[in-house]
């Protein structure tokens, strides 16, 4: 175990100026080789085992914490997760679902699209106002919801978390515009879930043919997310 420490210490020592770094590196190297020579094979084997177990478990935990690491399909600012709920999901997606107790939408049921950034790639921020506008891929029903990170702030009035395709106000051509802003506005106003911090939009398409052929979706059929202004 002790032999592992100098190996980890050298990268942090890289911040120091070159001569001293070289000296400390040489010192650490000498120390490590001396310990390695003295301790012999059992300690080295133990070191390898501990290193393997610790790194392996830590990386597995890191990869399956939070969102799905891969399997997403980018469409403009949105990411679609067509296989998150199917039995062809990759092992990481399956592990994420198992850890969170998530029941993802199955392929015949619907499709989840998420967005954490606007059209220009800036992270969605709760202090800014956004316009989510356009059309959605064909679906029997859809819902567009917003969520902040962590639990809901109990101080904030619980007004609305999202819109459904039935209740939304549309323009004559069938397109819509949702204003996601901290302050109330006319039209489809969606209050920001928190006073500040990152936000995430989720567009769930129910009973949609798009789930089967994700390749048919492009930027023109998903809503755009445009940042309007930010309270400093």
């Amino acid at each position: 175990m002790t032999t592992g420490n100098p190996g980890f210490a050298t990268p942090s020592g890289a911040e120091a100026d070159p001569p001293r770094r070289r000296a400390s590196l040489r010192g650490a190297g000498r120390w490590v080789s001396r310990v390695a020579r003295k301790s012999g094979t059992p300690l080295l084997a133990l070191y390898a085992l501990v290193l393997g177990a610790a790194l392996g478990l830590a990386s597995a935990d890191w990869a399956t914490r939070g969102g799905y690491p891969f399997g997403g399909v980018r469409i403009g600012p949105w990411t679609a997760w067509p296989r998150a709920g199917s039995n062809q999901a990759d092992p990481y997606t399956r592990a994420v679902n198992a850890r969170r107790g998530e029941i993802p939408l199955a392929v015949g049921e619907g499709l989840l699209l998420t967005a954490a950034e606007d059209d220009e790639g800036r992270a969605l921020d709760a202090t800014c106002a956004y316009v989510v506008a356009g059309a959605t891929p064909p679906a029997r029903a859809w819902t567009l919801t917003v969520a902040g990170r962590g639990a809901r702030d109990p101080q904030r009035p619980h007004l609305r978390e999202g819109f459904t395709s039935t209740e939304i106000l549309r323009q004559p051509d069938g397109r819509f515009a949702i204003v996601l802003a901290p302050d109330a506005e006319a039209g489809n106003w969606l209050p920001t879930p928190r006073a500040d911090g990152p936000m995430r939009l989720a567009l769930r398409l129910y009973d949609t043919p798009a789930a089967a052929g994700i390749g048919s979706l492009d930027r023109s059929v998903v809503p755009t997310i445009t940042r309007r202004e930010c309270a400093s």
Partner: protein
């Protein structure tokens, strides 16, 4: 020094093996996954509501364990254990969009919406391969069964019922529609 490098490399290779093994083992060992959590609904005749939409002043109750639920969709689960016999899920279609999805340990293996209903009824029977063969053999030739029969990949899993409330006024009806679905175990003895 060479030996230390050798040991570190061995450790890294081991780390890779442990990583892969851990990721593959998580769904199997997890006690917080949906299959394990749904198990408490196994003896119910109706779906256990896991997300009830907030109606009026009443907020969504804390029984919800979906991490990011859709606030307009009522969700219920029926767990099955096919060693007790096939499970039958019966839903009556109503004005609200309803979908059923069958999940096993590996993920969803079947989903159907109320648009597939025959005369307003949706009957889904989840069974094992052996039970499926038995059901086929027992079928009356003159009166073919209208059940949708699905062979499950494993013995345990659950069926998710989702009902979408398009308008806030439809929310109580959506919660009610989830509760109105019936999930029963077909007794294996009722074959003639």
């Amino acid at each position: 020094m060479i030996r230390l490098v050798y040991a570190t490399l061995t450790g890294l290779v081991l780390a890779g093996i442990v990583h892969i093994a851990a990721v593959l083992a998580i769904p199997r060992l997890s006690e917080t996954d949906a299959v394990s959590k749904a198990r408490s609904s196994e003896n119910l005749d109706h779906p256990q509501a896991i997300y009830t939409i907030a109606t009026g002043a009443a907020p969504a109750p804390p029984e919800a364990w979906l991490p990011i639920p859709d606030p307009a969709v009522a969700v219920g689960v029926c767990a099955y254990d096919l060693s007790d016999g096939p499970m039958r899920v019966s839903a009556r279609t109503g004005p609200l969009a309803l979908s059923l999805a069958a999940h096993g340990r590996q993920g969803a293996f079947y989903a159907v919406t109320d648009q597939a209903a025959v005369r307003g009824a949706l009957d889904l029977v989840i069974l094992t391969r052996a039970q499926y063969d038995q059901a086929l053999a027992d079928d009356d030739e003159n009166e073919p069964s209208r059940d949708v029969r699905i062979v499950a990949p494993g013995e345990r899993g659950f069926v998710v019922v989702r009902v979408i409330a398009g308008l806030p006024s439809q929310r109580p009806a959506a919660n009610e529609a989830v509760r109105a679905v019936s999930c029963t175990t077909d007794a294996p003895a009722d074959k003639s």
